[in-house]
């Protein structure tokens, strides 16, 4: 099993004719993803390496039954693309685009909520259920199937964990990058809830960073929901100075909130293991899986 996407997912790519969209569509297909359609307004009727292109998401959904969308359009148009996807009933919209204005995202997120669909991102690497379906930009070669669920805010750091676990022989049910923006769709708690319900996921890695309170909310979810799988957590930015935005729009310590320490404390209190390095993440997951196997 897996969460959010699997071999039955029918994937649409919004912005399929752009440089990023075109490249990653091929990467996604190379990982076995069933990319059924692309959208590029005004290019309806053409195709991209055999994938039919439509002018609108509505037409694409009608023609192909797409149920997951990956968005690769530039920031000024990305919120509109998210809303178009949600309005057409796409169950999961994955927005890779970085640099979307916050007010655009506030509206887009409210729109998605109202449409009762799910959004992953924006400014996220997407997600992958190894060997079945990848939506986004997580490098193909690192993903192998296995018992670990991964959820992270940072892209490359998540890749490091995936690769590290893989090199130690531990694959993933699904790896989910929720993104580094202050206003985003699925949060740590949302994805943890999905992993809780997934029988194949036997341990979870949470990769957090400074800024906001989503790690704390995730910890609260672990504590209050009776989450019964081992959680190994890793927080980056422990030495970042307050008030400086560290790359991600959301990675900033404001006043006393959003510090790595507060996140580490909350996760520790919730019973998670805290790792200081990627190597330690791998070691701890191995131990916990081993312990469980006994």
């Amino acid at each position: 099993m897996s969460v959010l996407v699997d071999s039955k997912s029918r994937v649409l790519v919004q912005g399929i004719t752009g440089r990023e969209g075109a490249f990653h569509t091929e990467q996604m297909r190379a990982h076995g993803t069933n990319v059924v359609a692309g959208v590029s307004p005004g290019k309806g009727g053409q195709d991209a390496n055999g994938v039919p292109i439509f002018d609108t998401v509505a037409e694409a959904v009608t023609a192909t039954g797409a149920d997951v969308s990956g968005i690769f359009v530039p920031p000024p148009f990305a919120a509109d693309a998210i809303m178009e996807s949600a309005a057409c009933g796409i169950a999961l919209t994955v927005c890779i685009t970085e640099g979307i204005p916050v007010h655009d995202m506030i509206r887009a997120r409210a729109f998605v909520e109202r449409a009762r669909t799910l959004l992953l991102g924006p400014n996220c690497p997407g997600l992958v259920t190894p060997g079945q379906c990848k939506v986004g930009i997580i490098p193909n070669h690192i993903n192998i199937p296995g018992p670990v669920g991964i959820v992270g805010r940072s892209g490359t750091l998540t890749y490091e964990v995936i690769q590290g676990l893989g090199q130690a022989g531990m694959g993933q049910t699904t790896s989910v990058g929720i993104g580094g923006d202050p206003v985003l769709g699925l949060t740590f708690s949302d994805v943890l809830a999905l992993f809780a319900a997934d029988s194949q996921t036997r341990a979870v890695v949470m990769i957090g960073e400074i800024g906001g309170a989503d790690e704390e909310t995730g910890a609260e979810f672990i504590r209050s929901s009776g989450f019964d799988k081992p959680v190994v957590a890793f927080i980056s930015g422990r030495t970042a100075p307050p008030g400086k935005r560290m790359g991600h729009a959301g990675a900033i310590i404001s006043g006393n909130s959003g510090t790595a320490q507060s996140k580490i404390d909350a996760l520790t209190a919730a019973g998670a293991d805290i790792a200081d390095t990627i190597e330690e993440v791998v070691r701890l997951v191995g131990e916990r899986l081993g312990a469980r196997a006994l």
Partner: protein, 392 residues
């Protein structure tokens, strides 16, 4: 992008929010002219930080001559590193009470929060600690915006503990003001849009006596005129600048760079990975000099550019380059590092850790060029700290 006081007030005025009469002056003569029109004025330094009053950046003057003299004095100042390039000459207000009205992003609710307080004139964080009962908040639906009734509810709630204020007048006036401020915040892509103090005059008017407006960096492309205007105040012909000169240079080069206090240069791809690299350097006893994220799919040229940028800071004793190869290719990175070293004749130690796509090819290139690659980030951190401590 933080707007200056005068920009914020001009925005308020354009949105129909009353502000005191004022004029901008970039020279002492202009300040004198302003005082001739406005009479008694406060001459206020325009800098993007607080505390200018204590620093001597505000003077109340009675005559045009005084205005000229004080403006000359203030325009020659640097306040906490920020050179004063303009002064705002503004008439005074009669004050009955000082209130607070602000709009800011509430990350946890994924909405803007509107905050009203019956205690204005001080930082809202301070009020939140000392008199939380005087603060009320509202999180309007982003599509609906704040409705008058919601604002009235907020105002009545905050005024319950400030019985001296005329709740009826305020509730109605603040409702209209809040709707204007919210529209302004949305149209300006404001992360923060604050009136503090919001002055209630003895004749029952509400006037924005001071304001703060910060525009979302991701939305700068929608507000070029403001950014241009701001740039006039940020750097003058004399080259004085209040912002970190390295960060200014990085912005010019289109790089995501944060200047820090240490001596170990750090370059990586992905914000989380770079933050983690800083943590590793610290863990092993080093002190990072910067945060530089080359982003996804970086070209050799971008790597070269980044390395050059990091080394502009003379305090840097060596550079740790930490790359996860996904879309970014190891051989590209290696090529960029080698080109930079050769072109820039870099003699300071470089430690490169790379993994992932074309990792082998990259390592081979580096070894061939005499740069030792590291296998793990931990090993690389130890190595760079050792090398930079040696050279100290």
């Amino acid at each position: 992008m933080k707007l200056l006081e005068y920009q914020a007030k001009q925005q308020f005025a354009a949105a129909g929010i009353p502000v005191p009469a004022g004029r901008l002056a970039r020279t002492p003569a202009e300040a004198a002219a302003a005082a001739r029109v406005l009479g008694r004025v406060a001459v206020k330094a325009q800098v993007p930080i607080g505390g200018r009053g204590k620093a001597g950046g505000i003077a109340v003057v009675e005559t045009p001559d005084d205005a000229e003299r004080e403006a000359a004095r203030i325009l020659a100042m640097d306040i906490r590193g920020y050179p004063v390039r303009s002064v705002w000459c503004e008439t005074g207000l009669e004050i009955d009470s000082e209130l607070y009205l602000g709009i800011t992003l509430d990350r946890d609710r994924r909405r803007m929060a509107i905050i009203f307080s019956a205690a204005g004139g001080m930082e809202i964080e301070q009020v939140a600690e000392e008199a939380p009962e005087k603060i009320a908040k509202l999180w309007p639906d982003p599509f609906v915006g704040p409705q008058a009734f919601e604002v009235r509810e907020m105002v009545f709630a905050a005024l319950r503990h400030a019985p001296q204020l005329r709740a009826q007048v305020l509730a109605v006036q603040v409702a209209s003001l809040t709707q204007k401020l919210y529209s302004l915040a949305v149209s300006l892509d404001a992360m923060t849009c604050e009136i503090n103090p919001l002055v209630l005059t003895p004749d029952g008017q509400l006037i924005a006596a001071d304001g703060k407006l910060e525009v979302d960096e991701n939305a700068h492309y929608r507000h070029r005129a403001l950014a241009l205007e701001l740039a006039q105040d940020a750097t003058g012909d004399d080259g004085r600048t209040g912002d970190d000169p390295f960060e200014v240079e990085a912005e010019r080069r289109g790089l995501t760079y944060v200047h820090l206090d240490g001596d170990v240069g750090v370059i990586g791809n992905g914000a989380g990975l770079v933050m983690n690299t800083l943590d590793l350097v610290k863990q092993h006893g080093g002190d990072p000099a910067d945060f530089l994220d080359v982003g996804g799919g970086a070209s050799a040229e971008k790597v070269r550019n980044s390395l050059e940028m990091v080394l502009l800071d003379p305090r840097v004793r060596g550079v740790f380059i930490n790359i996860f190869g996904g879309i970014t290719r190891g051989d590209e990175v290696a090529t960029g590092v080698i080109a930079a070293r050769d072109q820039l004749r870099i003699t300071k130690p470089l430690v490169v850790r790379m993994t992932g796509t074309r990792e082998e090819e990259g390592r081979a290139l580096l070894e061939e060029a005499g740069i030792t690659p590291a296998i793990s980030a931990t090993e690389a951190a130890q190595k760079i700290v050792a090398l930079t401590r040696d050279s100290a």
